[in-house]
Symmetry: D2
Subunit: 352 residues, 4 copies
């Protein structure tokens, strides 16, 4: 932590600030610059809030943080080694991480009925997917919109899991539902709108299933990693980060701005695996394939893609869903890029 004093700060005030900081257990080292004095704070500063220190004196101009605020999520925490989240599914263990082939998650926004979800599971499995996504509880902007079939949809997901052997990823919106969701889900999803629902983060951190943490619509990289830190600090080491588009000034064509630069940025900061969701990230089916291919080229560990047997009749998010046929051909295109970057499974994709 670096404390920058204002031009003209009285000597006595600088001494007083130094003394106060010493009482916090820190060793301030003074550097007298040409125009300003700065104090470098030596000691355990990670948990300090720069804004807190600023309050010590009105002569403090700003306080600059030198340490990153995340620990367990940091790359240093694992000495530069990528994490490998292993998810047991009926089809076998799926490894998600930098040293493994790209993992594909596909399925509809919402679970609508048994036939639809089982059929979708079979189709995406045949195309090469490893996980089925599908919402039982849906966060909707309007209270009058379809809110998901809730608990009954969990049973349908279990049926689709049995029928296809795919792992299941579904969202938890309320910690009261967590237990019954975790009975069915192989990975529990925390949605973008709940990325800073800290109560929920603590609770998914205190259970055993891996957690898919979507980035909040206006969350900085650092806030996102701090949200992961909540889960890690609560004892759950299996966190997957998922970029799903951020909110920017232009939403006329693409609904969100898919921020693919998180791939190289997160690689330099964290050991956690990274998933990209081009369906929510763009909001329009016709933009999904280009962004899916780009994500693989840039090093994504996993892709989440919305697929619906009949997008025009979907109860939610139809416009961003691919048909199963379009998904089939997209997986073929993804395979070409995946092989080019050495991140595609060697044997045949689907040996169902």
């Amino acid at each position: 932590m670096i404390v920058v004093m204002k031009v003209g700060s009285p000597e006595a005030e600088i001494a007083r600030v130094s003394q106060d900081l010493a009482e916090w257990g820190l060793t301030p080292e003074k550097i007298v610059g040409k125009h300003k004095v700065v104090l470098g704070l030596v000691g355990e500063t990670v948990d300090l809030d720069p804004l807190q220190i600023q309050e010590i004196s009105p002569w403090i101009e700003e306080v600059l943080r030198v340490e990153k605020p995340f620990k367990r999520a940091s790359l240093e925490y694992r000495h530069g080694e990528a994490s490998d989240v292993v998810v047991p599914t009926p089809n076998g263990d799926i490894h998600i991480g930098e040293h493994h082939p790209v993992v594909i998650v596909a399925g509809p926004c919402s679970v609508e009925n048994e036939e639809m979800i089982v059929e979708t599971a079979r189709r995406v499995k045949a195309a090469g997917a490893h996980f089925l996504r599908g919402g039982a509880y849906k966060p909707r902007t309007s209270p009058y919109a379809f809110q998901g079939h809730g608990e009954s949809a969990l049973g349908l997901l279990a049926a689709a899991r049995d029928a296809s052997g795919l792992g299941i990823i579904t969202e938890v919106m309320d910690s009261a539902d967590l237990e019954k969701i975790a009975e069915v889900a192989d990975v529990v999803q925390v949605g973008a709108r709940n990325m800073q629902n800290f109560s929920l983060l603590k609770k998914v951190g205190a259970q055993d299933k891996p957690v898919l943490l979507k980035r909040g619509m206006s969350a900085t990289i650092e806030e996102w990693l701090m949200a992961a830190e909540y889960i890690l600090a609560a004892g759950n080491p299996n966190v997957i980060l998922c970029e799903r588009g951020i909110r920017t000034f232009d939403r006329q064509y693409a609904r969100n701005t898919l921020d693919l630069s998180v791939l190289p940025v997160l690689r330099s900061l964290t050991h956690l695996p990274i998933m990209i969701d081009p369906s929510h990230g763009t909001g329009k089916a016709e933009y999904v394939p280009a962004m899916a291919l780009a994500a693989i080229a840039a090093g994504a560990d996993s892709l989440m893609i919305e697929v619906h047997p009949n997008p025009a009749k979907a109860l939610s998010d139809g416009p961003q869903s691919l048909t199963p046929d379009r998904f089939d051909s997209l997986v073929q295109e993804m395979a070409v890029i995946g092989k080019a970057v050495g991140r595609w499974p060697q044997p045949a994709l689907a040996v169902a």
Copy 2:
């Protein structure tokens, strides 16, 4: 709802789309423009999702919504009349709304100990505040930062209420805590990070205490009103909207961008009362007074201002807190503007 067909759409396709829409119970009226055909949909379109309609045909270029998506929150719902949220407090009923004097909420970010909160309550009461704010449960970016004293802090808020007669406003982060919070709080706050925690919105909507709904950091005006709609639709008519700064590209000096234009914009859209929080809105105590005065001049119904007896020792948000003395003088400045716009109580402010 207006359906815009692409240039060159085949007649047969336009007929098919019209037929599909008719099956949804709508009457499509066709307008043949110079370049494009548009279909105006007559019928009950409020609950329709434009994106859903778009899926009907790849020849649909876009679907434009003509109806607003909110109902109970709309100004029309009360025939153009402003709502008046009445909160009973030990000092009497406090009315928050366009036809009443400005209501002042003040207090620390977090409840730290009994002496501190009772003393702050007495000071802000003497200065002219009507409500005491203070966090028992705190949403913090870092899991390692002070998370609030929780349940024990609720008892301290009750003591401050008894000692000062002020109403209490405190935040709920987890619906499991709602019941015990509502026993103490006169107004229950939903924070910015939970503005789209729809489970929580439904639950605060199903209880009796008025709800203060803070705007999410990147929530559009429409999303904010839809979040209010969740509470209203669940049966609670007493919702106060609170602007607390939005996230923009520049965060170097002010931490957020306080969007005061919500005052005239919301007035034209909704009957709900509007509070402004310049403390979170700017993040720095020295910017608070100018923004508080601006808010009153622009027509705010209520102001929320952070006050801490010793900001340098605050357990959270110190840098944006005023000292009680600075708050005293700010209330005097606010009174000048409040009187100028006819929104200040006629009798002496503080008859403690």
Copy 3:
């Protein structure tokens, strides 16, 4: 400037970096923290680019700037004293600055014809304005939209100046037009879209007329002050900063987000006078009055308001223009707030 070395940086590399920096004429002082080493650079660092220093070694994690990059625009440059831009007009010298009454600029977006501009000048003068604004050259998003009457409009502005005695503010878009604009204009405006047109900034800095510098749509406070610095460094000390709304994620109701927090923020950073433009800042006439009053309460030195005799027939920007009658009544409302904050002229407003 503070250089933060990565965890685990080799001693030899830290020594090499220090040596390199010494060759740049700086004295690096080393602080060995618990986890990291930082180097505080003593010497003339204002003109250094932190990004440049970062390139010295891959072991440098980040470089933090301690000095502000602006000099002539800084408050320190005038030892904490506000600037006073004095503009001679036919009606006498107008002073724009913190220690003077609020200065009002009003008029249409574009100069349309002589009758219209002269009539508007007379009306806004009668209401209390000090300057007439009106565009001869108009920056329009579309090449097919009305681009302003250009040179011929300058003659009409001169006629309006003669008829009303008001000072003239008009925009320069192309330095080739600067000379003839400066013959008519009392203040030359650089528009938001040209805020970082550095060639133009240098040229308006090299002439004598005061310059009104509008904030770019996504310009940070610091970039805005650096744009002012271009003008100041070129020799023109008379720069007025004008906030006109920034671009954020929500543009559905207000076209831009008027950032009134620039008032307290700029006051703490610069001596330059500050104007607020609520017409462009909101884009809708009905939102203008609330924001104009807020600006005065928050300490604006000047207001710019669009007024058009017949907004429905305006060639540009009609929807954000007030009618002369609405402007009349707004000035009365502004006077109430202006008097409350001690920033309104003592004698009668309009002694025409």
Copy 4:
């Protein structure tokens, strides 16, 4: 254009609005919905400003545009066919467009001296580049930063062109310099900060060299296409669009947010070729390769990459520049993706 009337609009007012619109040469068709009346305007509406129409009556709630505002830039203008910008260079004609291999532009931010620019040209040519970029005139945030060597640098670019056979791309900031720049440059660049410098756009549109139009930092897709429309409307059909990162709320790690979704979005809207600049788009050399590969996978027609022989000594933008060696290996990686998507030249890359 669709005019939406407010709930409760009087019949007489609707009739008056219709009559007014008829006077503008439009045929309004009235649709009486369940709650609202809308008027569909038939006729030549492309050049109309929706905001203008809104002014006709206070009973108009909003005006929705159905036509796109761009014409010459639209995909329809070329009946769905991609444009092919052909640039003659000493090494032969280079085709930039959807049906051609990826074109590579590389070079330093600024031209520093002859040896440096000639050497860089040779190195990037050998690696596979088709164009050399290098700034003679540099837009810099600070007036105290290196502003480019100006005219003398143009001579050095000519020398590098002769030595390498590469085409030259360099930026024009001031129309006064356009003629001498166009003598040397094969493609004239308009930078992000000048994207809405409409005077400059008209001038580059009135000369013969192809124009590279960078997207403004907060320009919407539509504003960007309208800027291109200025150039096209002025007579120059050879415009290349270049995405270089937009400004969002998070700038801590990547300096800008590279918006790769412009690739599928622009493909659906315009025939113009698309270049991606991951160097400015991320601001950090270590993030460039991942984004360059992603751009090719997503369908970019061209890539612009900063290369500097010694980034640590660069006079500008060092931190985002690759060394020639890193560029060499990046081109090899790009070739793998380029071949996978069928956008890489068949014969050997460099036959120098």
